[in-house]
Symmetry: D2
Amino acid sequence: MANINKVVLAYSGGLDTSIILKWLQDQYQCEVVTFTADIGQGEELEPARAKAQALGVKEIYIEDLREEFVGEYVFPLFRANTVYEGEYLLGTSIARPLIAKRLVEIANRTGADAIAHGATGKGNDQVRFELGAYALKPDIKVIAPWREWDLTSREKLLAYAEQHNIPIERKRGNQSPYSMDANLLHISYEGGPLEDPWQEPEEEMWRWSVSPERAPDKHLILELEFAQGDIVAIDGTPMKPARVLSYLNKVAGANGIGRLDLVENRYVGMKSRGCYETPGGTVMLKAHRAIESLTLDREVAHLKDELMPRYASLVYNGYWWSPERKLLQELIDSSQSHVNGKVRLKLYKGNVIVTGRYSATNSLFDANIATFEEDEGAYNQKDAEGFIKLNALRLRIAAQLQSR
Amino acid sequence: MANINKVVLAYSGGLDTSIILKWLQDQYQCEVVTFTADIGQGEELEPARAKAQALGVKEIYIEDLREEFVGEYVFPLFRANTVYEGEYLLGTSIARPLIAKRLVEIANRTGADAIAHGATGKGNDQVRFELGAYALKPDIKVIAPWREWDLTSREKLLAYAEQHNIPIERKRGNQSPYSMDANLLHISYEGGPLEDPWQEPEEEMWRWSVSPERAPDKHLILELEFAQGDIVAIDGTPMKPARVLSYLNKVAGANGIGRLDLVENRYVGMKSRGCYETPGGTVMLKAHRAIESLTLDREVAHLKDELMPRYASLVYNGYWWSPERKLLQELIDSSQSHVNGKVRLKLYKGNVIVTGRYSATNSLFDANIATFEEDEGAYNQKDAEGFIKLNALRLRIAAQLQSR
Amino acid sequence: MANINKVVLAYSGGLDTSIILKWLQDQYQCEVVTFTADIGQGEELEPARAKAQALGVKEIYIEDLREEFVGEYVFPLFRANTVYEGEYLLGTSIARPLIAKRLVEIANRTGADAIAHGATGKGNDQVRFELGAYALKPDIKVIAPWREWDLTSREKLLAYAEQHNIPIERKRGNQSPYSMDANLLHISYEGGPLEDPWQEPEEEMWRWSVSPERAPDKHLILELEFAQGDIVAIDGTPMKPARVLSYLNKVAGANGIGRLDLVENRYVGMKSRGCYETPGGTVMLKAHRAIESLTLDREVAHLKDELMPRYASLVYNGYWWSPERKLLQELIDSSQSHVNGKVRLKLYKGNVIVTGRYSATNSLFDANIATFEEDEGAYNQKDAEGFIKLNALRLRIAAQLQSR
Amino acid sequence: MANINKVVLAYSGGLDTSIILKWLQDQYQCEVVTFTADIGQGEELEPARAKAQALGVKEIYIEDLREEFVGEYVFPLFRANTVYEGEYLLGTSIARPLIAKRLVEIANRTGADAIAHGATGKGNDQVRFELGAYALKPDIKVIAPWREWDLTSREKLLAYAEQHNIPIERKRGNQSPYSMDANLLHISYEGGPLEDPWQEPEEEMWRWSVSPERAPDKHLILELEFAQGDIVAIDGTPMKPARVLSYLNKVAGANGIGRLDLVENRYVGMKSRGCYETPGGTVMLKAHRAIESLTLDREVAHLKDELMPRYASLVYNGYWWSPERKLLQELIDSSQSHVNGKVRLKLYKGNVIVTGRYSATNSLFDANIATFEEDEGAYNQKDAEGFIKLNALRLRIAAQLQSR
C-alpha cells in the first residue's frame, strides 16, 4: 500500500463515496480533500459539504461547473456528430475528463499526492478518471477503493457504514435497483433487472423523459441557431451552452425524446447493457447534422464521418486528454467555421423531425444548379459523360482483361 | 453520334421512357429492346408491355426481380448498417446495380450493342447505371438521352409526345410536383417545392407512411429473427427476403415510421434536397444493430463502423460492381456468421424502440462478468489497474517531459 | 468555343507551350499573358521572355518561386511522410497547386478571364491545374489545347511551328525520347521505352543522380536538424527550405540515392509507368520518420500513418486547394510542434542509413523505462498481467462461447 | 499462486528457459512439458532435448515448423505489404502466434492446464503469446516467470542456475551484449549499447548480412514469380515458402540488404530501440508492391494501403488470433487472386531495385491507353473536361459563396 499524505476525493455526498472517505482516512491515515461538482446531475451540493465536515474534512471544494462542462466538453463532442457504436451519445464518458482535470488541479493547489474516485474495477469510468489524471499529472497516485478493499457486497458496505457512524439515508422507500449516473447531458441506468438484455426496462425506471405514449398530443416547433457548429440561440433567444442544454432537456424530455436502451462494449472487455436518457443531446445531434448538411463541403463531411467512430472510441475509452484526441478535435473544430445558420425542428412523441435548414451566409445548396427545371447553363449535363467515362475506365480495363 | 444497331432500354412504361423509346428509334434508327422490372415500385407492369408493343418493340422483357433485389442487394447493404451521410438508407442507390446487370445480360442475350436509360445528367442514377454497365460489359455503348437531346423542358417533351402519338395519361387530376422513385426499399421525392430546404414538405407528398400524428395510438410489438445477419422470420413466421421487407413496410408505414427529409451531397458535385420513406428499412437497421450489439465482437463492430461510411459512398456513387465494394462486402458478410438471434421491437408513432435482444447460440453478453453483484471471480477487478497503468504509460512519459 | 479576351498561359519557353501560345492567339483571337516560374527545374528563364516577346506578348511574368515552393508546398507534404502507392514522393503533383495559384493571381491582376496550360488530356496534371484554378477562382475559364486542337502528332506540331515561324531547337543531337518534368523536388520520366513495364530504363535516362554502382566508394555522413518537423540546418549550418532541398539533392544524387521506377495509378483511370529521381526527398522522408520516431506520441504517429494514404491521394489527384486537404494539413502541422531534434544519416551508394536520432527537448524515449537492466521501479512488470488480461477478455468470452 | 498440474513451456534450450523450467518445477510443484520449435532461428534443437531430459522432463516436443511458419504466417503478412510504423517488417511479431497456437495444442494433447514463456513484462512478446493462448483456449493459465519471480538481475539468475546445477555455457568468449531473437524472417537486436538512440550500432552486431560497404561490387539479378500474391518460384525454380525465404535471406544478406535501425512504440507504452536484419523480407516487400502495381485495381490498392497500418498494429500488438485480424486477412487474401506474374530485381550493395514487372494473365497496364503516342481512340481526351468539371463543382460552389 502506497504511502499517501493527502488525497483529493471525487465526492458526491452519497453513501458510497462517504464510506470511501472514511475508509481512506482509516486505511491510508491520510488527509482527505473533497471535491464535489455540479455538472447538472440535479442534486443539491450543500449536503455534501455538511457530510464532509462531519467526517472531519478541512478542505472542501464545491463547484458549479455546468457552463464549463457544456461549453468545453459537450459542445466540442457534438461538433463531431459523435455516437459510440452507432447509438450512444457518450453522456457519462464526456463528464469524466472534466472531473479528472479538476481533481488534479485541486491536488496541485492543496499539495495532495493522490486522488481517489468511487468507480468500480469493472467499468469504464475508472479508466477515464485515471487516464485523465495521469495525462495531466504523471506522478499522481490514484486510489480506487473498489479495486482494493474487501467491501465487496452491499451488506459489507452497510455494515462498514454503521460501524463508522456514516448516515445511511433510507428516505426513499423504494431504493432504485439501478446504478445511475447523471449530468446535464444525460442520466444512465445499469444493473439490476437490466442485466437481462431480453428484458424491457420498466417504465418507472426512466426519470428525465415521459414515454412517447404519455407525451403531449401536440407537437412543439423549435428553431435552433448555430454559430460555428454550436447552438447559440433557441427560438430567437440567445443562450449560453448550459442553458441551451437544460432548455432542450426540458422540452425534449417532455415530448418523449431521448431514450436509448442498448448493449455496449466496454473498454475493459465485456459487453454491458445500459439505458440512457439524453433528451437535449438527441435534439442537438439531429439539428447539427441538418445544419452541416447545408453548410459543410461533401468531402469534409465524409472525412468527419469516417473519423467519427475513432473519435467516439477515444472519448468513450477515456482518452480525452490524449494528443490524438486533441489533434482530431482541432480538425473537427476547424471544420465548423462554416457551420452557421438555423434549423427548424418538430418535436412530437419521441420524434425529432427536421422541417427546415437555412444559412444566410454559408449555404452550399445552390438552387440554380440543383433544380430539375431549366437551369440556364448553371450545370452542363454533358460534363457527366466524361465524368462517368473516366471513373469507369479502370473498371472497363479490368473487365476487358477478364473477358479475354 | 455513335452507330447503334440495337439498344436495350430501361423502360418503365411511363411518359418519359416512352418518349425516349420513340426518340431512340428515330435518332439512332435502331431497334429497341425494352426491359421493365418489378422491384417493388408498386406499379403494374403489363401496361408497359402494351405500350412497348404499340411502339413497335419486338423484344420485350418484363421481370419480377423482387426476391433478387432484396436478397442480393438490400440485405447485403443492411449487413453493414449502411447509412450515407449519417441518415440516408440508400433506397435508390441500391436498385441501380441490379437494373444495370439485367440491362447488360439482356444486351448479351439479344445481341444489342447499347443500353439506354432515362436518368438525367444531373443526378447520381446515370452514374450508377453506367458504371455498372461498363464494369460488366466494357465495350457496351450507353445512350443517355437527357444528356443528348434538346427536349429540355416539359413543354418540349409533351409536344414531342403529341407529335409522335405517344399517349399522355392525365388521369390523376393532381399531377405530382415531385420527381419520385420507388422500389421495395423506399420511395423518394425530389424537386418542386422541395428545392427550398427551409420549406417543410406538405403532408400530402408522403405516400407510404402515415404521419406520426395520424398513426395508431396503440403500439405494435414485433419479433424479428436473424440468421447470419439477415431477417429470416417475423413473429415466428419464416419469410423470404422480399416478404420480410414488404411486411415491414406495411406495419412500419402504418405506424408513422421511416420518413426522412434531408440535404445530401451528390456524386456529381452539388447538394440536393430529398425526402424519403423507408419504413421497413428503418426497422431493419435498428434491429440489425441490436442483434449485432449482442453477438458481434467489439473490434469487429468498430471495424465495420469505421468502414461503413466508405462502403456507403461506394454504393451511393454507383460502385456496386467495383472490386473494392466486393472486397468490403466479403469482409462484412463474413462478419455476419455470428449474427444470429432475435430482436423484440415496439413500433409506435414514428418510433422504433428495441425492447429486447436474445441469441441462444451467439450471445457474447456474459451476465456473470457484467453483473454489479458479486461475480465469484469471473472478473478480477485488480486487473484493471495494470490495464490502466500501461495504457497511461505513453501519456505519463509525455507529461513528465513537458513538466520538466 | 468560349469567348475569351485574355488568357494567362503557363509558359515554359519550350516548343510545345510556344505553339500553344501562337495557337491561342489564332484560335481565340485573344491576348496572351505568359507566366514562367523557376521552381527549380534547372533551366534559365530569360529565353522564355525573349520568345514571348517575339510572339508579341506584352505582359510577361517571370518569377523565382523556389522558396515558396519548398517552404509552402514541399515541406508541408513531407511533414506527413507522404508517399503515394507506397513509393512515389509526389514530385510532380506538389508543384501544380503553386502554378495554379499564380496563374489565378496573375489573371486577377491582369484582368484575364482564362488560363491555359500545356498538360495533355490523359494525365493528372490537367486535373491538378484545373481543380486548383476552379477552387481559387470559380468563374475562370480554362483552355487545355491538348484536349481541343487537332495537332495530335509530333509531325503536325512541327508543321504548325514551321508554318508560324516558331523556332524549333534542334541543338541537342539526341532528343530525349522521354516526357520529362522537373522541379526542386524531382525530375520525372515517362513515355517512350518506359511504356513497357518489363523493360529496365537505360542508364542514360537518369539525369540527377549517378547509379549506385558509380557512386563514391566512401560514405557521407549528414546531420539534419529539425524544428517543428522541418529541416532547418544541415551539419550545423542553418538553411532556408530551398537551400536545404538543393543541398540534399546534390549530395544524395552524388551518392546514387533517390531513383524510383514504378507503375502507378492515375486519377484519370489508367496505369502508367514512370521513373523518378528524388534524391533530396528520399533523404528527407527517411530522416523525418527517424526524428518522429523519437518525438511523436505512438497514437499520433499511427493516426498520421492511417491518414497518410488519403492525404497522398488528395495531393496526387489535385485537391491541394480543397477544404479536406487543408483540414488534414492542420492536423498534420499541429502534430509537428514536438518534432524537434536532429538525425544523423549515412549516405552510401543508394542507401540512406539512419545512424542516430536525438532530441534535447522532445524525446519520448525513456531509457530508464526501456532498459533491459534493473529499472528501479520505473516500470512495474506486474502491470502487464492486468493489461493483457483485460485486452484478452473479449477474446476469451468469445472462445468460451464457441467451446460450448 | 495458482494451482497448476502441468505446464507447457516454450523452451529454447538456452539458459533462461532452462532456469524457468527448473523454477516452474520448484515453485509450482508441477510437471513441465517442453516445446521447442525450429522456425528458422538457425540453432540446433537436439541439445534442447538433452537438456530437458536432464531436468527430468518426460514429455518433450521438438518440431520443425518452418514451412508452416512461412506459408501460414509470413506470406499472409506480406500480402498486405505490412510495415509497422513505416519501417518495421514485424519479424518477431509474426512468429509468436504460431508458438502460441502450438503451446495450446500441446496443452490440449497432454492435458496441461497452463503454459509458460520466457518473455519479460516489458515487451510485446508476452502480450502476443498470451493473447493468442487466451483466444485459442480461454481457460488456460499462463505463467510468465519474469513477471513473478525475484530473479531480477543477471547475477541472481546465474546464482540460481549454479545452485540448481543448470549448465551455464560460457563457450563464446564474447557474450553478446544484445537481446536477440531470430526466425526465418529476421533476427533482432535490442538492449545494451542500443539503449542510446543517438549511438550507431557496431558493425559486429549484425549477423545475417554484410554491410553495403562489404557487399560484392557486382549486382545480382533475381526473377521472382508470384501466384496469388505469394512467391512460388525464383529464377524459374519452383520453391515452397520456407525455401523461398531462406534463399532470399541468403542472397539478399550477401548483398548488404535488409538492415534496419529504428525507434519503435511498444504496445505496453514505451518507446524502444531495435535493430533488425530482414534480408529476404525486404526483397519480398519491394517485389510484392511491384507485382501489385501492375495487377491490382487502383481502389483496391488504396483500400489495402489505408487498412495496412491498422493490420500492422494488430499483428504487432498480438491480435493475430482475433476476429478483426482474420476478417482483414480475408479481404487481403481475396484481393490477391489477381496478383500473378513476375518481377525482376537487381540486388546491389543494400539496394533492391525493381527493373521489370510482367503479368501474362493479369496486367491492368494497357499500353494502348497509357501511350503518349497516337492511341487511335483508346482514350478520349475530351472526357477529361467533364471529369474535371464535375469534380470541381463543389469547390466552385464554395468559392462562389466566399467571393460574394
